[in-house]
């Protein structure tokens, strides 16, 4: 297999090829390292590449396989991750100036699980400062760029994860999602991404932003890859008391179930309130694909979600404010203007407003579940309601328009975090300007399996996810 052919493989495809001795882990690592070198100056997606360690790990993976030893379902697959998952003794910048030289006290559970499954981490990826920004701007590390058009935003906060995986400079990457930080870059970069049910994946050793909203998940080339990685990373963790004990199903085993008879909801209101017509036609077309595949399409009337949208902003702001309070007192000059302004808001949110926002969540989840899951199995919706903006258009710093610009970008993704539900982002087509866009599939709590089945079935019938940017 040529390096170019290797780089077009999904994570699952590469893992199968390695196990079948069609390609070595070393060849895959050399290919991806060369690709990372060639795109880095254009995309600025990597913060660090651990070349020698990665090559040694790939050689070891090949030697183990030669002895008949397979670590797990990701044996020998090169990955890079958002620079907020800690490895003991190694600094994780978290996209910031403040943390870039602080060695991590322990290794993140999610990295330990990926290591145990055989994945090889070869680098760390750019991200919004402290994961607090939906565009991909970073004033400390330099802005990350979209491989489909380097003038455009990648989406954030998992900007490097979106950029590198789309550019074939990593086979998959962890992101994190507090208000849309996996789904925005997945949408703008043409990838699949899962924001799991809150508590589905351990957050031990992951940088906290908003403890009641943060989730950990992958950005990948295919939905199958999301299922594979979630199967490895989901589950209880004694190091994270919030990680759910709920059993982890066999996601990969359920991918082929098909969707005949699956009830897919299409929302009236909120998600389509203000919508770019071209993006809307792409999203509507993806729904038609589902109808042709045998799904039952049902229109769903949603509850009033506007208060939830405000409440989500208040919760994230207040929890982020608390997480950053000490550095805000001692090192305020080391934040960028935008993140500093957002944290100042959080530190000013009245406690009563924060608690009112939390109280709304139980009611909101009950209302949403009754309105949606009383009628359908999955809700289909756009991930964004606008064309991909440029980096310049969204370079609003910390000024007065900043919050409205940021809140608009995450308007359609934020409810998923507020409700704690699993949401899968799936590429659904391209605008005339060549930029990808995506649908969201929203499921019941802990029912990622149905989302994966629906997303995978769509990808078996379409080829949007196979398109690669020319960078």
């Amino acid at each position: 297999m040529s390096p170019a052919e290797i780089l077009e493989l999904s994570s699952a495809g590469l893992a199968r090829a390695i196990r079948a001795n069609k390609v070595t882990s070393l060849a895959a690592m050399e290919a991806v390292l060369a690709r990372a070198d060639s795109v880095q100056s254009k995309l600025n997606c990597f913060v660090r590449i651990d070349r020698e360690e990665a090559l040694a790990a790939a050689k070891l993976a090949d030697a183990e396989l030669a002895r008949g030893q397979v670590r797990g379902p990701l044996h020998g697959v090169p990955m890079a991750h958002k620079d907020m998952y800690y490895r003991e003794g190694v600094p994780s910048s978290c996209g910031s100036k403040i943390k870039r030289d602080m060695p991590a006290p322990s290794t993140a559970t999610v990295l330990k699980k990926l290591d145990a499954a055989g994945a090889i981490q070869f680098g760390v990826l750019n991200m919004a400062e402290f994961a607090y920004g939906p565009t991909g701007h970073n004033y400390h590390l330099g802005h990350c760029r979209n491989p489909w058009n380097t003038d455009c935003i990648t989406g954030g906060s998992s900007s490097g994860s979106g950029s590198a995986v789309a550019a074939r400079a990593a086979f998959a990457a962890l992101g994190s999602d507090t208000g849309g930080s996996i789904r925005a870059p997945a949408t703008f970069c043409g990838l699949s991404g899962i924001k799991p049910t809150w508590s589905r994946v351990s957050r031990a050793g992951a940088m906290p932003l908003s403890f009641s909203m943060d989730t950990v998940g992958p950005l990948t080339r295919t939905v199958e890859d999301c299922a594979l990685i979630m199967g490895v990373t989901a589950g209880a963790d004694p190091l994270d008391p919030t990680a759910s004990q709920h059993p982890v199903p066999d996601y990969m085993g359920q991918l082929g179930r098909g969707i005949k008879g699956l009830r897919i909801g299409t929302p009236k209101g909120y998600f389509y309130d203000t919508m770019d017509p071209e993006i809307e036609s792409i999203i509507r077309a993806s729904l038609e694909v589902y109808a042709k595949l045998g799904a039952e399409i049902v229109e769903v009337e949603l509850p009033d979600m506007e208060p939830w949208s405000y409440a989500a902003v208040m919760i994230i702001a207040a929890e982020a404010g608390a997480a950053h309070a000490n550095w805000m007192r001692t090192r305020p000059q080391d934040y960028s203007d935008q993140v500093r302004a957002r944290i100042e808001l959080g530190m000013s949110v009245p406690a009563t407003t924060y608690i009112e926002s939390l109280r709304l969540r139980g009611i909101a989840l009950q209302q949403f579940s009754k309105a949606v899951f009383g009628k359908v199995d999955v809700l289909h919706a756009p991930s964004v309601n606008f064309q991909t903006p440029t980096i310049a258009e969204t370079d609003v710093g910390g000024g007065t328009t900043m919050m409205s610009v940021m809140n608009n970008i995450t308007r359609l993704t934020r409810p998923g975090n507020f409700l704690g539900l699993p949401v899968l982002s799936v590429p659904a087509g391209f605008a005339k300007n060549g930029m990808p866009t995506a649908m969201q599939l929203i499921g019941r709590q802990f029912d990622e399996a149905t989302l994966f089945t629906a997303g995978h079935t769509y990808q078996q019938a379409t080829d949007w996810h196979t398109k690669a940017p020319k960078v």
Binding site: W198, S199, E306, P307, S309, Y310, A311, V313, M314, A317, A325, M328, R329, P332, D337, A341, E344, L345, M347, S348, V349, P350, T353, I355, E356, S357, L358, R359, L360, R361, G362, I363, A364, L365, Q366, S369, K370, F373, G374, G398, G399, T400, M402, M403, S404, G420, R444, Q445, F446, D447
Partner: protein, 65 residues
């Protein structure tokens, strides 16, 4: 009637929690605070809350129809 923050009051509020705001940024901080918190409180005004914060995580899938 809602009383809005001024640059001075926003600066004083953040000073209470130990955060210094430069005078050049105070107007922007006050504006963000007014817009976001007032917006949230207006949105909540029409709602009746009947649950406590902890319940949101306990509304499990099996409770959904």
């Amino acid at each position: 009637m809602t009383k809005k923050h001024t640059p001075e009051s926003a600066t004083a509020l953040l000073a209470l929690v130990g955060v210094a705001v430069e005078p050049s940024r105070a107007a922007s901080v006050a504006d963000t605070l007014n817009t976001q918190v007032t917006g949230a409180n207006k949105a909540f005004a029409a709602l009746t809350f009947e649950t406590e914060p902890a319940t949101y995580l306990k509304v499990a899938a099996e409770e959904a129809p």
